[in-house]
């Protein structure tokens, strides 16, 4: 990633303009042809710096208002297999293994999104049945203090 790439990311990370040629203004700012703007975005995607280029959706506005972080205590030797099963659920948007501690021994995290809390609970129950992991806790978000994307 060079300086131009960095500038390009800074110019687009808050969203491109909804105009017929949204990359024109960016190309002018960077003093490169419009086609190069697109080539650079594609290269940044290929190298994994940009995960995807597209719309971020305000899912709460779409009625998907229940959001639970489900934490699971999974034996270390089953993490790989159980993580893959959890990731396969459509209601699970993110699934990670994280460091665990004696005072907090949950190691798998699945973010569950649905229209209601009950739907989240059902999904967690289904995951539990599918994986045989019964030591889990659903932590609903009671308040959103902040939500932005990753910025540079």
């Amino acid at each position: 990633m060079d300086d131009l790439d960095l500038k390009l990311i800074k110019l687009t990370q808050d969203g491109i303009d909804l105009v017929p040629e949204p990359f024109e203004e960016i190309a002018l700012e960077l003093a490169i042809p419009e086609a190069e703007v697109i080539d650079r975005i594609e290269a940044l995607m290929e190298s994994g710096i940009i995960r995807r280029f597209g719309a971020s959706i305000g899912h709460r506005v779409l009625g998907i208002v229940a959001n639970a972080m489900c934490v699971w205590n999974v034996p270390d030797d089953r993490v790989e297999e159980v993580g893959a099963v959890m990731a396969g659920f459509g209601e699970v948007s993110h699934c990670y293994e994280r460091v665990r501690y004696p005072e907090w021994d949950y190691n798998l995290y699945a973010m569950i999104h649905a229209r209601t809390r009950e739907e989240c609970e059902h999904t967690a129950h289904d995951i539990s049945r599918a994986t045989g992991i019964s030591n889990y806790m659903l932590l609903f978000s009671e308040k959103e203090f902040k939500k932005t994307g990753v910025r540079i």
Binding site: T12, F23, G58, Y101, F140, E142
Partner: protein
């Protein structure tokens, strides 16, 4: 924020929302390309997307960055904060540009926030500041990734 809005989405809105999350065309005239795909004009696409942005269905159209890809370092922090200090602590945490998500959740660890710092050093520096704030917390970095990113079907 959790207030539910009565939204009226037509078929075009739905098609566009489903398309532009993962398959936004990287084209000199992307809205023209989208219009071609679903059989409407460029101007109509733009009008629909503007309305969807105004009502908050679309937050933005742009790059979704990978913290690791940009040389950064990220973690999740769970903090134990007494009830009467929650709002002030949450706003102090929000003051860091590097905090991307911050939620109140039930339990002893009640404030949960993610940090995406520009480097390992910056992350350590922030953890130091968070420590100095004096509330017990757990640092929970990712050790394995199974799924990231979503597409909401509407």
């Amino acid at each position: 924020m959790t207030q539910e809005l009565e939204l009226e989405l037509d078929d075009t809105d739905r098609q566009l929302i489903n398309l532009i999350q993962l398959d936004f065309p990287l084209d000199l005239r992307p809205f023209h390309a989208l219009g071609d795909q679903i059989g409407i004009s460029e101007q109509e696409v733009i009008e629909h997307l503007k309305r969807l942005t105004d009502i908050g269905v679309i937050r933005r159209i742009g790059p979704i960055l990978n913290t690791k890809g940009i040389g950064g370092s990220s973690t999740l922090i769970a903090m134990q904060v007494p009830e009467d200090a929650i709002d002030s602590v949450a706003s102090w945490i929000n003051g860091f540009d590097e905090v991307s998500h911050n939620y109140l959740r039930p339990g002893a660890y009640n404030i949960w926030f993610t940090v995406s710092a520009s480097s390992k050093e910056r992350l350590h520096e922030m953890i130091g500041e968070i420590k100095a704030f004096g509330y017990p917390f757990l640092e929970l970095p990712v050790t394995r990734l199974f799924k990231i990113g979503v597409k909401f079907e509407v």
